[in-house]
Symmetry: C2
Subunit: 245 residues, 2 copies
């Protein structure tokens, strides 16, 4: 672990550009110049998220009889990562249930959906409005809903309603990359309070306001990109693909 | 680990179909019915191969001063998996060098090649015919050359020449899925002798003739496929994505 571990985030260049969109710029560079594929990146990130969940909530630590997990997936990339995460959690012998209120028309997103359906992972057709039902049925909620790409100044239904529900649940929430409803830049005053945050590529600026368990997941970033964006990523131990910050 | 661990392989149905092509049938089903993508599968397999190498040859165990590894990549899928393996080995702080004598015209294969080039992994323009140079320069060779898809009754140059060299090298060889030049069905009498075999999805029939260190890598196969093909896969420990058989 390097000395900078506690401060890992988009730094110098972020300040120059105002921060917003640095993660998007890196992703564009990975796709265009480094010729990564979106499918490949989403698989890497989703698997790393699942591993982070197994670290934060090992099977043996779950309080309910069944290792149930509710995965709430949005319509964009964050949701696709949630779908991959759910599939790997099933392989790790968790029992995920997916709530995926708006299916994307993007074929990649549809493929990730079919992969989950063919793994016999159940999909909820609606989210119970009675919060106690969620508290009783699941050990935790994975929030893969809005992510950094969302326009949080204008969150529409069904997501605004789901956020209302998530603010009331008593079971822990683990958020993927950016807690839904938070700005990439900063925590939202009256937002959800995840217990775990799983940062992808590098922590977004809002992670500085996060006081829970914080993982950096996905160990694949080319060294030149790390250098160019001055990411100061910590040294991952051994062959681990995630690290607790 | 299940009782069947020692016998994991394509079994019942393989005997019915003569074995050949069972792995190909599974892959077709994953791509067509389960809507996996080739890019996604190759990423999963390549990463799992890299992890197997880190288990079989931990950095601390390497005898040479530098953690050098020669990765020989063929023109088809086995070669793509080798490219992904090399990239992840670089992330795990090995120093891979790739020998990739015939570039594929397939765009996916080209993308995996660019990903390695952009990671500053060196590519050899030819393989030294003086075997001692290879023994001196590298700790081991990863054979991602021909794989199960190859027609071994008619191995052409440059691959026949490379096999001649690999039969003479004194450093260990780790083969991906099927040792190059071996039939998917059985060991080839005068073939190469890898120290490590990394089976993907499930061991091919020839793995029964293999007496070295044998890993099963890539933990993602949907349960229905495992059942349909009676794969009797062992239980992977914890969240490991590979297991030594």
């Amino acid at each position: 672990m390097t000395e900078q571990t506690g401060q890992v985030r988009f730094n110098q260049r972020e300040r120059e550009t105002g921060g917003k969109g640095e993660a998007a710029a890196i992703e564009t560079e990975l796709l265009k110049d480094y010729r990564f594929g979106q499918q490949q990146l989403i698989e890497i990130w989703g698997q790393a998220c699942a591993l982070a969940i197994t670290k934060a909530y090992p099977l043996s630590s779950l309080s309910k009889k069944q290792p149930t997990v509710l995965v709430i997936c949005g319509p964009d990339q964050n949701g696709s990562i949630g779908l991959v995460c759910a599939r790997h959690l099933r392989i790790f012998e968790y029992e995920p249930t997916i709530y995926h209120p708006k299916r994307s028309s993007q074929s990649l997103h549809q493929d990730f959906t079919v992969q989950c359906e063919k793994m016999d992972i159940p999909f909820l057709s609606y989210l119970p409005t009675e919060v106690q039902l969620i508290n009783d049925a699941y050990n935790l909620v994975i929030d893969a809903m809005l992510g950094p790409e969302a326009d949080i100044s204008n969150i529409k239904e069904p997501y605004s309603g789901i956020l209302g529900t998530l603010k009331q649940v008593k079971i822990p929430i683990a958020s993927v990359d950016v807690p839904s409803g938070w700005d990439e830049e900063e925590a939202t005053q009256d937002g959800i309070h995840p217990e775990v945050l799983i940062s992808l590529t590098a922590p977004k600026k809002c992670a500085a306001c996060f006081s829970g368990k914080h993982y950096l997941a996905g160990r694949f970033l080319p060294y030149d990109i790390q250098k160019k964006y001055e990411l100061n990523l910590p040294d991952f131990p051994g062959t681990d693909t995630l690290i607790e910050l």
